[in-house]
């Protein structure tokens, strides 16, 4: 959103004697200022100090201001657009700058000091500031300490005028150790984008090969190898355009990231019992037992239940309904609708729809599944949901699940009074759910029975509660 030049600074200091050899290793004369043009701006290298005992090289990147207006994501409207932050891309850019300006040094070659380049030296790298999104200082330690560095991180406060806001997601980080300069530069080259998490820019085609090349000799045995590979490669969406001048931002909304983060948070809480799998098993089993052949999956998300329903021959007509266009598109991709055989394809349809509007298309089904959906709805919209589903669509049966708040105390990682997902508008106790369900059933001519899903606690019940409504 901002026009901004990155303010990132990398310094590399050695106390090897003579320390000025650092200039030879980097192939930069400490008495001069060195500039290198980059596709997106300019890297400058200079030496704040260059003595016998101690020599420091500084690399800074000035990025050409590029107007980056993000694409519209989910329908938050202008307000959300206006207010959504975009993380600094600086760290990936710094990687690119290392590659361009210090490529030879990173490769380990030296015209004048090859022996020195091949030897471990006392080195310290300082990055000012380093974004700590997605992991914090602990992650910096997990990434660099196995490689033999001592890590020191000085967090940057958000705003000195507001100490109550705490620290910013940035820190001045110093890594020190005895290592070859080329190894230090390579580690920084790979791990800075990893710390920046998913906001990665790349130049060139074969990032996988590059990662394998750069990671040779250390990445194979790194305890965080999986995370490094995933994050390094994970965000590949953007391109440095051939024209080279414009840097394009990865088009993905923050909101989507948050939703994913939320989903994984819920999964993390519920993980020990693989609740989601149990839930889907139970729902499919219930729908089968009801004898349904045509089934609605309301709030189908990316289609986990749909996939399971497709696998059951009993269900001849399956319709997934989702309110968010992009999630619906993702469901289509995951189900591989495009490549599905005709016979199979005829059994399933995906629709954009909403649970709070009447919808002719949803009439005439044997059953509807409403799995972990209602808790994402504002309580004052529930009457509209009831009227649309129970009153208008009127499927023969409705299988509805929602978290059992009574059980939350059994989740060790949950704070008291918290909810399992940041988007949950409410979580009901068994009493609250049953009260609601019985009222809805009687108002619309359904009968309802209740079951728990997941291993039940004797006092607090099962983690998920399910109501099975059948039309009288």
């Amino acid at each position: 959103m901002f026009i901004r030049k990155t303010s990132m600074l990398l310094t590399v200091t050695t106390t090897h004697r003579p320390a000025t050899d650092l200039g030879f290793l980097l192939m930069k004369n400490p008495a001069r200022v060195h500039e290198a043009e980059l596709p997106f701006g300019r890297a400058t290298i200079f030496f704040p100090e260059a003595g016998e005992d101690r020599c420091t090289a500084a690399l800074t990147v000035e990025v050409d201001p590029v107007e980056l207006v993000r694409g519209k994501g989910r329908g938050g409207g202008i307000e959300e657009q206006y207010v959504t932050d975009r993380p600094y891309a600086a760290s990936s850019l710094l990687s690119v700058a290392i590659g361009r300006a210090l490529g030879t040094a990173m490769s380990g070659r030296s015209r004048d000091r090859q022996a020195l380049a091949d030897s471990p030296l006392p080195l310290a790298a300082r990055i000012d500031p380093l974004p700590l999104r997605g992991g914090g200082e602990a992650l910096v330690r997990r990434l660099f300490e196995p490689l033999g560095y001592a890590v020191a991180a000085a967090p940057v406060p958000l705003d000195p005028a507001h100490p109550e806001w705490g620290d910013s997601p940035y820190a001045a980080v110093t890594l020190s150790g005895e290592t070859r300069l080329a190894a230090l530069l390579t580690h920084l080259f790979v791990l800075i984008p990893v710390l920046d998490d998913s906001k990665h820019y790349y130049v060139g085609e074969d990032e996988v090969a590059k990662l394998l090349r750069k990671g040779e000799g250390w990445l194979e045995s790194h305890p965080e190898r999986e995370l490094i590979v995933r994050r390094y490669l994970g965000g590949f969406r953007s391109l440095v355009r051939a024209a080279g001048a414009a840097l394009d931002e990865r088009v993905e909304t923050e909101a989507a990231d948050e939703a994913e983060a939320g989903d994984s948070a819920e999964e993390a809480i519920e993980k020990p019992i693989r609740l989601n799998d149990l839930r889907i098993d139970k729902v499919v089993e219930t729908l089968k037992a009801l004898g349904a052949t045509s089934v609605l999956d309301l709030g189908c998300g990316e289609g986990r239940l749909l996939r399971r329903l497709l696998a059951e021959r009993q269900f001849g007509r399956i319709v997934g309904v989702e309110v968010a266009p992009r999630i619906l598109a993702a469901a289509g991709d995951r189900l591989r609708l495009e490549r599905m055989a005709d016979l199979q394809r005829k059994r399933i349809a995906l629709l954009q729809g909403s649970l709070v509007y009447r919808d002719e298309r949803l009439m005439g089904f044997d059953a509807a599944a409403v799995i972990e959906v209602i808790e994402h709805m504002e309580p004052d919209r529930l009457p509209a949901f009831e009227a649309a589903l129970f009153g208008h669509a009127r499927p023969g049966a409705i299988v509805l699940t929602t978290p059992n708040r009574d059980y939350n105390a059994c989740f060790e990682s949950m704070a008291e009074g918290a909810m399992r997902h940041p988007d949950h508008r409410f979580e009901w106790t068994r009493g609250e759910f049953e009260h609601w369900a019985l009222g809805v059933a009687s108002a619309h001519g359904y009968e309802v029975r209740f079951e728990g899903i997941g291993a039940a606690d004797p006092a607090r019940g099962a983690p998920t509660q399910m109501g099975v409504f059948t039309r009288c």
């Binding site: 026009i3 704040p48 500084a58 000035e62 932050d85 940057v156 909403s354 009447r358 009457p383 649309a388």
Partner: protein
């Protein structure tokens, strides 16, 4: 020979090939009104006589006929139509769309047809088919009425055919040319005393002379009776006398009610059960002459099912009428208009369970009806039941049209005990839970009174559905969303991105003579919708949760996450409304204010911390470290001046950025830290205040603010005469002073709320932001010359086009709500605004 045809009908031309139907159709009907089977054969098979193509050709004929009838258009079918089975499908379509069926039968001599065919090269099929068609026709002649054809016109000779003139007549129900003003009277049920009093209250003089009555209406007014004149009450014959007199004198219209119809059948000698109050009427009739009974029977027999009045804006039917039946005629229409629609079930009192058609109503016309007694008449989705149970001891109610005032007189006593108790009062928003996805999803064309048709693109509607479903407040509260606001054109002055000169020049260039310049508060746009009482929330908005209003963001979300803060804010605004005398002056139970709510950090704290403060922290710490390193290098004599200079300037900008956002950060512990700056009094009962200028709006806002200065902020403003150079200079100087002191900027509006220039609607407002405020929006270094140069290339066209369309949609939503349109028609407009907002536009504008 004159043939009268209702202007909405399905006309079947019936006759063998060669009897001149197509020529006849071409002479009397528009080419677009005539659907020809020959032409359809031609379309599907390139040969108008290809009998093998008939099946497909008739599919097309039927499809076109159906679409035309659905659109209430006269449709002529030019096919032989000689066999009952070929007519059956067409008549079924007419029945489905409630069109009268007219047959014009060409029963001409066989020889003539054979000869005509022989003379045409493409009809060389000999005499056989024609003979068979003639025979079928003869067999059909007597069965037309039974098949459902209402009018049959027989033409037996070519001379008959040539002599035909066709006159199109309007349907009996069609009184669109009558616009009243009307006094629409609910179910009288024999309560003549109350009727006389009600008429007197409405200004009608009722004079009896023996059994003769004369009613003189007030000048220009006439009455409409919604039916059920008789039964249950003590003076049914007198009620009939009054109403018949008025109808025959042309001072009233009456539609038929189910009780009127049943009495007519009784008077016709049919066996009907004397229940539900008919026995009382029969008893009263026993004192009347047989001639009176006959007259009344004939008069009742002539009552029509419903009327469409006032240019199509008003429909009166006894039991109400669905949109697709209005202005049409069929047995089904008459039945619905008399009885409503029932599900076939009966309730615990043995009475039929009625389908609540009003809850689903989305029509443009207001429907006024009776039939189902209610304690209070109340609008539901643009419909109102005015049967307030007079005969059951309730009251007799009239609705004045177009004023929409209700006038009633209480029943003198209970004349009849109801079988089931009167239902609870209906509420306006009862339809709120019946919104249909088809009304919002897909491409929508919304008719607005200020901008004509506004189109909402399909993908934008799709994007808005999620917001509306998952985050927006209850749609019954959501009667408006404000438009986006464009900045002024980019300034050409050195070192500036926005200045007020451009905003003033925009309006001056469009011929506006006077603008209003208002201080722009750095807060969050919010709509404050407030009801005077919780009851008003129920009756006017249909929201029964105990809330008396809502504060919402410009995307329709609830503004406050803490309901206690919202309730406290609404309470304070209510008290201010009362203290300022605004409730009484507006004569309204509700009001909608457009406001800015501060502090900005109240809604934007997360944003401030996550985005602005983070950027500031990164920038200051990185640039600070870089500046130190450069200073050390410089101390060593290294030539880093260029970079050091740039770094120093950027560090200063980063600090200025921090200062800029910090100006808008305030603590928020509760209502005492809240500030609300109202600037538009958008609407109240019966009024969308878009017809008042901004001087009026500011005046009302200042009155409100004066009543509770601790909460409400009086926005500083000034009127500027654009022809007065000094006044414009003063306005610019004011802006400079405001923004120089850290203010966000100003908003410039044409004095009129709704202003038009040479090319239609003008921007309702243009903002002009201050230099330091823009640093928050465009980043710390935005005013470095090279950056400013790039930013100048920003385009405003799309933003401005959106602002105008959103403005028109938002106002349309308010008009519809104020006019008591069905919720779905209000919602459609609001949804449209939200959909427009999903259009990708540079959010910094």
């Amino acid at each position: 020979m004159l043939i009268e045809i209702p202007e909405f009908a399905l006309v079947l031309l019936v006759g063998a090939s060669g009897t001149g139907k197509s020529t006849f159709a071409a002479r009397h009907f528009l080419p677009t009104e005539t659907v020809s089977s020959d032409r359809a054969r031609g379309w599907v098979a390139d040969d108008e006589t290809d009998q093998a193509a008939s099946g497909d050709a008739f599919d097309i004929v039927h499809a076109i006929v159906e679409k035309r009838l659905k659109g209430r258009r006269l449709t002529v079918v030019d096919a032989t139509n000689v066999q009952p089975e070929s007519r059956k499908g067409l008549i079924a379509l007419a029945r489905k769309w409630h069109a009268l069926v007219v047959a014009i039968v060409f029963d001409l001599p066989e020889q003539l047809a054979v000869e005509r065919n022989a003379s045409r090269r493409d009809r060389a099929f000999g005499a056989g088919p024609v003979r068979r068609q003639m025979q079928s026709l003869k067999r059909s002649l007597r069965g037309f009425q039974r098949e459902g054809v209402r009018y049959v016109h027989l033409l037996r000779t070519p001379a008959d055919v040539d002599a035909v003139t066709i006159a199109r007549t309007r349907l009996w129900v069609d009184r669109r040319d009558e616009s009243g003003p009307f006094d629409i009277v609910g179910d009288v049920h024999g309560c003549a005393d109350e009727l006389e009093r009600l008429l007197a209250d409405l200004g009608y003089a009722v004079r009896w002379d023996g059994t003769e009555v004369a009613v003189t209406p007030p000048a220009g007014r006439s009455a409409i009776f919604v039916g059920d004149l008789v039964d249950r009450g003590p003076r049914s014959p007198d009620v009939l006398r009054i109403v018949r007199h008025m109808v025959e004198a042309g001072t009233a219209l009456a539609v038929v009610g189910n009780h009127d119809d049943k009495l007519k059948r009784h008077l016709s000698g049919r066996a009907v059960k004397a229940t539900h109050g008919l026995a009382e009427t029969i008893e009263q009739f026993s004192g009347e002459s047989p001639a009176f009974a006959r007259e009344m029977r004939d008069w009742l027999d002539g009552l029509v099912s419903h009327y469409v009045l006032d240019g199509g804006r008003l429909v009166v039917a006894h039991a109400g009428l669905k949109e697709e039946m209005q202005g049409r005629a069929s047995g089904a229409v008459r039945s619905f208009a008399m009885y409503g629609e029932t599900s076939g079930e009966v309730d615990e009192f043995g009475l039929p369970v009625r389908y609540d058609w009003a809850a689903d109503y989305k029509g443009k016309a207001k429907v006024v009806y009776g039939h189902t007694p209610v304690p209070e008449a109340n609008w539901v989705n643009g419909t109102i039941c005015i049967d307030t149970g007079c005969c059951f001891g309730g009251k007799l109610t009239a609705l004045r049209w177009p004023e929409m005032d209700l006038v009633s007189v209480p029943a003198a006593r209970t004349y009849y005990e109801p079988i089931r108790p009167l239902p609870a009062p209906a509420s306006s928003g009862a339809g709120g839970i019946h919104l249909d996805i088809a009304d919002v999803l897909g491409k929508q064309a919304i008719e607005t009174r200020d901008l004509g048709i506004v189109t909402v693109r399909e993908e934008n509607a799709a994007a808005a559905l999620e917001v509306m479903s998952r985050w927006a407040v209850d749609p019954r509260w959501l009667i408006h969303l404000p438009p986006t606001m464009s900045p002024a054109e980019t300034s050409r002055a050195e070192g500036w991105l926005e200045r007020p000169e451009e905003a003033l020049a925009y309006y001056a260039g469009q011929g506006v003579r006077e603008v209003v310049v208002e201080e722009k508060h750095m807060g969050s746009r919010a709509l404050v919708l407030l009801c005077r009482t919780i009851e008003a929330a129920v009756t006017r908005f249909g929201v029964a949760g105990g809330e008396r209003g809502v504060v919402m963001t410009r995307t329709g979300r609830r503004f406050f996450s803490d309901p206690a803060v919202e309730a406290a804010a609404l309470h304070r605004v209510d008290a201010a409304m009362a203290a300022a005398g605004l409730w009484d002056e507006l004569a309204s139970d509700w009001v909608l204010w457009d406001t800015e709510i501060m502090p900005w950090s109240l809604k934007a704290q997360a944003l401030v911390e996550r985005q602005y403060a983070a950027v500031g922290a990164a920038a200051v710490s990185g640039l600070g470290a870089l500046a130190d390193a450069l200073a050390r290098a410089a101390a060593r004599g290294i030539a880093v001046d260029g970079l050091a200079g740039r770094t120093g300037r950027r560090l200063a900008n980063a600090r200025a950025f921090r200062d800029a956002y910090n100006r808008y950060v305030g603590p928020f512990a509760g209502i005492d830290d809240l500030r609300i700056a109202p600037f538009h009094l958008l609407a109240s009962e019966r009024a969308v205040h878009a017809d008042k200028d901004h001087v009026w709006h500011m005046g009302q806002a200042h009155r409100l603010a004066a009543a509770d200065p601790a909460l409400l902020v009086a926005t500083a403003w000034r009127g500027v005469d654009l022809a007065n150079a000094e006044a414009t200079r003063d306005a610019v100087a004011w802006w400079e002073a405001l923004t120089g002191a850290g203010g966000e900027g100003v908003v410039v509006k044409p004095r009129a709320f709704l202003a038009r220039g040479r090319r239609g609607l003008l921007q309702p407002a243009v903002k002009c932001r201050g230099r330091e405020y823009l640093r928050i929006i465009y980043g710390p270094d935005y005013d470095v010359p090279e950056n400013l140069e790039r930013l100048r290339r920003r385009g405003l066209g799309q933003k401005r086009s959106m602002a105008i369309r959103e403005f028109a949609l938002g106002l349309e939503a308010l008009h519809r709500f104020v006019e008591r349109a069905p919720l779905s028609r209000v919602h459609q407009c609001v949804f449209g605004v939200l959909a427009m907002e999903s259009e990708p536009v540079d959010p910094r504008l």
